[in-house]
Symmetry: C2
Subunit: 147 residues, 2 copies
């Protein structure tokens, strides 16, 4: 059986992201695999009290959010030595766009942090959970200790 | 960062279980980790049409199910060289008892097969999904190609 060839980190900027990144780097090294990192900025429309979409994130705010995401990803990527061309920050739906990026780039392992879930959070699920349902490749959920 | 020390396969006897086992063996070898395998036989009470529990699985049937599970696990374990003392087959709730076994035995990575989910199956979730919610360690979901 072949090793993993291309590993993708799905970063969510939790406080424990460095742990996920370091684990992914270690697995990549052990598999001699290419390592990439992505972050999907969620495009929430701002809604009024009647739950009608009122205004979507405007262009300036969108640029600011994307810029901030790219900066944070670049900092993480520097720690674990991922070149700029393997850093992807986009607007979209995390569950679907992480899986799409993985497919487009022939990723065979997605690594994501997994938070403890309780009560309503358990019902709502998590990004790791959404990826797990939709991914066509293996998914490693790295357990993070929640505060 | 330390490697994985003890890897646990959560086997569900799908047609692709060998793939999950071989992948887990490969990861265990690469990490020089101990490898164990478990299977939890679900203890469904048999219900009547009014959805009242009518009869629970009786002792003979319980023994037969456990025996069959142990035989199948032993066959899988033989392929990937797991000794009898690291094979655990029990009655219970897969989500909770896999996680419990992992905690009791200081497992730091659970490996489970992940099937594609559609429609109602997506809502009901899967074993990999249940493990993901409850595990206190990392979880690798190995994507199985459904027929």
């Amino acid at each position: 059986m072949s090793n993993y060839q291309h590993i993708l980190i799905a970063a969510d900027f939790s406080t424990h992201n460095t742990l996920v990144c370091e684990k992914a780097r270690e697995i990549a090294d052990r598999n001699q695999a290419k390592l990439s990192i992505c972050h999907i900025v969620e495009d929430y429309p701002i809604t009024d009290f009647a739950y009608e979409p009122m205004i979507s994130v405007d262009i300036d705010m969108r640029d600011a959010l994307l810029g901030s995401g790219k900066k944070q990803i670049a900092e993480l990527a520097k720690i674990i030595d991922i070149p700029a061309e393997n850093q992807w920050v986009e607007f979209g739906n995390p569950n679907h766009d992480i899986v799409r990026l993985a497919e487009e780039n022939k990723v065979d392992l997605i690594v994501a942090g997994s938070h403890g879930r309780h009560g309503i959070q358990l019902l709502l699920g998590s990004t790791a959970n959404g990826i797990l349902h939709h991914a066509k490749c293996d998914v490693l959920a790295v357990r993070l200790q929640d505060n």
